[in-house]
Symmetry: D2
């Protein structure tokens, strides 16, 4: 159906419009409106403009983050608060969000969600409240507050399957994510993803058909994003609940706090990092007793991908680490059945632990997982990748190593550092480093990591 | 997504189950339940069994009407009425209607609709009430009563687009019907079809995505069928309101009474008959002032199909007849915009004529259109296919000629008659008959009419 | 609050208005509309006019049936069917049904219920269908059909307490009915009455406050009436579901088929007849095992009333008959607790007997209870009031004797007969007849039966 | 119906219970739950306990604030957060809040509202945020935040009539408030009061009947209270939306920000203060153009009360001040019609001023109206009650004078001050002071101000 969504024209039609929320749920204070209008340095207006544009080009096939900004240079958005509530004024907005001059309802809803979240960040997580965000509990409270304000926390039965995976995957992998989503939907599970295309869209599409067949009136297709990602991975048009978290770490925390289980489809380096983040948490003693269904799955053709991941994890974190996940190849029904069964165990544990269904308070996330890792040469030199370390600590450092190496290969900032200071010096056991290297080479070969020219390691192992 | 629906296994798993309606809306009297149980000659039980099986194999890819009956010989259904209301007991029911042992909700709903309609027919249109069905007004009242009982008549704004077309069409034609449905859905239109696959499913699939984007909470995907058709064209899984009419003529009347406009996609001889039925009505003086949007459309590749139809109509019924429809090729947006505009005119006319939005009382349908045509040699000899007749009368006879010729070529009963008594003797102008012949040959060539061996006319023209 | 409802003015303001149903649920066919318009002998228009006027004066304090007709001689009503559905046109309608020119929503709903029921009677129970009403099963089916069409049959948990009692009771009795209604409402029970004032209004008022406190969103206040009663006992303004049954016997059947238990407050002869009707049913062998909570209750001051009734029943039908009811004096909480417990047993029995929750199919009602009794001298002479008869047969004849004696004393037709032919000759045991006489005298003394002049028996006992 | 609510027993039955919110809407963070549990000095537990007890004795006829505390000394409440959400544990709770062991739903809802508001105060208005409350805009934002969190701000059409008046008024006055509420309800207006008995309950009771007649599905009966008042004026059982504001000034601001018009019934000195507070705002130049319907009304017997008030206002603030209100005596329909018309003008002004329907941002409230006035001798001596001052400033000082004199007469703290330091020295024009004195004496005579012994002025006029 994607072709239907496209409105690719050479003239790039734009529309001016006033938009009111339908249910009229969202109400802002004068102060919140003022912050959204403020175009000054500390102001939010530019951020709002960028996020809104991503939402308005939702479903666009163009993968390039900056494209929308360049294609609609005169786009602007203003937020007003009057009579029946919030009112959004758009100027030179992408015509693709409109049908015969009227905005598509779903797009309008996502737009109001964007305004709501940015307003919340401005006031509740603004500079006046910086002190609240210095402790682990404070950050968790901030994540909770933002999700509650977005009305994502409902005391319904546990049924939320988070799906991770690449945004540009092969056709056969994409079709497989739809089949898995379909089987999840038939079993009454709702879907939460990073809200972009590929593995973030397929499960929602499949579930959508299944939910219609099961006459599920209010299925949830939750998209969790953050300002740096939303432009590149504009919400797919199935998403009906969007939340914008302040940064990548809070986004990851949101996934693991509200999801009742996680399915990982094939993806690139980002997906690998997410797996290491999650294992870093699940291997902690504090979380040892916590049921947390984690299934790695893909079509038969993608079996080698998961074999490599599995091999790497076993070598680095030990076979015990592998007991925290299950790999299922080419069997969507089995994936859905296992996930449903796993979530049933989560439900029982929550009742037993007197924990809530809608927010995984019981999961221990230490401060270091909540704070960003900046891959400087110093930071990279501080990593400690040796056998014998406690698995969850090693997982955390592996994730950082991974993150740094990726940055050194493909991110502007990282590549500049390598150019300036030479390869990172990483302290680690040789077999571990070789395994990591093999994994990265495989990603490049499978075109899951895009690299200009040949792959050349940006690091040296110091033993 | 269709592959996901399939559950083709070699073992043909079956399920025994008790089913209760979810909303508990449907309530039967003891007498109605008794009739549904009655397996005697006049009883309904066998009819119920056949229709239920069609619904339970909904979404099956098998096109053969008798297949389901043969594949599930031990299937049985019983209807009970107790505590919270209706209860259906299934034995050896097709496993494909179930997920992990629980029936798919949408399938259950269609099953209850089937029970509801057959119970209504048994009592309200049963032999005791035969006299009510002898007049044109009486038949219209019966159609009204059945649709009202099925809760299809709501005083909502006119927005129902009926889609006609073949159940086995080409891939490109099918994709086109989805695109048209998507554009209709974006504009808030609901879809009504004959409820099978092909052109009856595509528009619903497309509209389903669009309705999700427009956050339409209660979209209607109405399927209108009748006992002779439902087995061959089992309801597609998007249908959320199913009604079983007693016979083909009442089904056609249901389409034109509740639809606010009709879109005709490419199809076979059945579709051609439907066009002639509708023109036969619209060309009557009594209906001359009645707005009734009628759009013939298909992808660019199907243009020749509509050119032939158009040529045939102009030659037989005159150019004026062509003013009652519009042909649009390869432009889903234009189709949806024209239909939306046409329905707006229907709305205005209903208000002006003090007619209801939900039932087209104003459309004059004479008794001869409400009664079945049985193509005997006598009946065929009585047709009068000459230029100079009033167009609507000629349209009615053309439809009958068409129906008879099709029967003579492909239907068992008709072929036997031809074998026994020789070709039909049809009185008609030569050019008209040649044009009809050309049309049929084209259908055969385009594989829209399936024939064993070469096409051989089953009639002779008597001038 | 009753004063607030009154709009007593000397000028009797009237209003002309068009009314549309709010939810747009009710849809009529052309034929049904035509019957409602037909003012000829067999037509319904006059009946519709009278019932509509009763509804429009709902809440009026005037007790006189004919008053409304005389006060609004120019009132007229027309029913149309157009665009969004039913439309009612009122001319010279009582101003008390309107607020600043707009009709009170609740009144409009009752008006649409009236139209719906009369239309149903006209078509489904009209002269063409007379044969259907000749058997006991046929009459029960008609009652079922009318209640189903009125959307009174929902497969919800059993919770419907029917309240019977007088329409003109003392202030302390009225306050007591409110307290009982309040306690019923607190326990989640809905209320069904004959829909007039007094004991038919009090329980609804009490329950309304309790339902508000319990945040019951859709409480049911069902009023069951019939054309001969509605004018005299115009629906009280709390009633939110009104159904008009064709005659008194079908109204009684409706009460005992949809109610899950019955509470009898003090009342006049009508109430006594109702008790005998119900005992006549419950004492049948066929109904012996059927739980049917029946509670006679009133304030302490009304204790003598129930003592007399109890004495009369024990003397005539035997002590065993008294086991079918319970008398509770001056304890609203106990009444509500007993009724709730009794309904729980009804629920269990329905499940065990595979009977529906919403219609008491299991209760045996013989044809003689479904047909009207006309108290001619012949019919009265045919009664057989002797000890030794089977209790349920005796109860039936007692009810008839009662009915005839009341007619002979207070009804125009009955009084004329007595004048013409002398007192009824009733065959019966002396003590039984004396007891009956004592009961009637007590009613007169307690002003529960209104008589001009002294009470003089209109019958003679033949032994 | 009030007697039904009473469960006055000598044994004072209590109940232990677990309560879950029905809709499951309210969700707290771990931090919020912790604060509610904290029984230390700064902790909220004692406050929660007191407010909860007031809610659990809702509808009690006992007027004494401390009574409930003394009658249920062992009552305790704990708040937990688990599985489906909030869970409240009650120990030794008043039996009157329960029916057969199950809590009355409405009471449970008010209990959850209490928890919600105290949790909000603890975190969002807690000591960490004290700086936010130092400016006028900051306080208004806090009021907005609390009301938004209580879900009282909906962008619906303006329809909220605030009713002020005494909690212990005469029977005829109480009946009159019911009639006014009934007429307001018939016209679709919702009711907001201080949530206690008397003039705070009557309008809600009347509106409740009218809303039922008008089939208003979700009428709002908003009660606004604060911790110091809730114990003395426990929410009446009609209230379905309760909000607890932090103090009296924020409560007053809540009334005038969310109400679209105000009706003042007879009351005591508190009511007079409220009138002066409102006039002090409405007479400001900043608010001169703002429509704000203000109606003083009571039964005919209460006419003298409003004449005195009117005379006092005209004398002190000038005749112009009287143009801001309207006095209607003994005509509930006229009150409702005028209020409905006034709210229509409010609606138009909000649209014109681009202000929201649900929060009166446009009303200017200076900081001095938002901060408490403590009537010390110094503060009283600082008042300036002379003719010639600007009316709104004079109104503010009059309100303070009033407040101080009342304190000196009836409040413990105030009486102690007078005893210690002698009468207040108030600077003011003689006629103004005499008029104030006359008003107070009249209140005492009409038993609207309760005083032990004779009334003796607690102030001296310094000219």
């Amino acid at each position: 159906m994607t072709q239907a969504v496209r409105l690719e024209t050479t003239t790039l039609p734009t529309v001016d419009a006033h938009i009111y929320p339908r249910g009229g749920l969202d109400i802002l204070s004068r102060e919140e409106v003022a912050r959204l209008k403020d175009a000054s340095a500390g102001g939010l207006h530019d951020l709002l403009r960028r996020c809104a544009l991503a939402v308005l080009t939702s479903g666009s096939t163009n993968d390039d983050p900056r494209a929308a900004q360049e294609m609609y240079p005169d786009f602007d958005i203003q937020v007003l608060q009057q009579d029946r509530g919030l009112r959004i004024e758009l100027r030179n907005a992408p015509g693709m969000a409109f049908v015969d001059g009227a905005i598509i309802r779903g797009v309008a809803e996502l737009l109001f969600a964007t305004v709501r979240d940015l307003a919340y960040m401005a006031i509740e997580l603004g500079p006046e409240r910086a002190a609240d965000l210095e402790s682990s509990a404070g950050i968790t409270d901030a994540v909770f507050g933002l999700l509650r304000n977005a009305r994502l926390l409902h005391p319904v039965e546990p049924n939320l399957a988070v799906c991770w995976g690449g945004h540009s995957i092969s056709r056969v992998e994409y079709e497989y994510t739809k089949l898995v989503g379909y089987e999840l939907g038939l079993r009454g599970l709702d879907i939460c993803t990073g809200c972009g295309p590929g593995a973030m869209k397929g499960p929602m599409k499949g579930a959508n058909i299944a939910h219609a067949k099961q006459r599920q009136r209010r299925p949830r297709y939750i998209g969790i994003t953050e300002p740096g990602i939303i432009a590149a991975e504009s919400p797919n048009p199935i998403v009906n609940q969007l939340v914008i978290m302040p940064d990548i770490e809070k986004r990851l925390e949101a996934f693991v706090r509200i999801g009742h289980g996680i399915i990982v489809f094939p993806g690139g380096v980002g997906t690998a990092e997410e797996i290491l983040y999650l294992l870093g948490l699940l291997l902690r003693d504090e979380n040892a007793e916590l049921p947390f269904p984690l299934i790695l799955t893909g079509p038969v053709a993608s079996a080698p991908y998961f074999e490599q991941i599995d091999r790497f994890i076993r070598l680095t974190l030990g076979d015990a680490a592998a007991s925290r996940y299950e790999i299922i190849v080419g069997d969507p029904q089995a994936v859905a059945r296992r996930m449903a069964a796993g979530i049933k165990r989560v439900r029982e544990a929550r009742i037993q632990n007197k924990d809530s269904f809608y927010f995984n308070w019981g999961l221990d996330i230490p401060l270091e997982f909540q704070q960003p890792f900046v891959p400087t040469h110093e930071a990279m030199a501080g990593l400690d990748l040796h056998h014998g370390r406690r698995p969850h600590e090693l997982a955390a450092d592996l994730r950082r190593a991974f993150s740094g190496i990726v940055a050194g290969n493909v991110k502007e900032e990282g590549m500049r550092r390598i150019e300036a200071f030479g390869p990172f010096q990483i302290r680690g056991d040789k077999d571990m480093m070789e395994s990591l290297d093999a994994l990265l080479r495989a990603f490049v070969e499978q075109r899951r990591m895009k690299i200009a020219g040949d792959y050349r390691p940006c690091y040296e192992v110091v033993t």
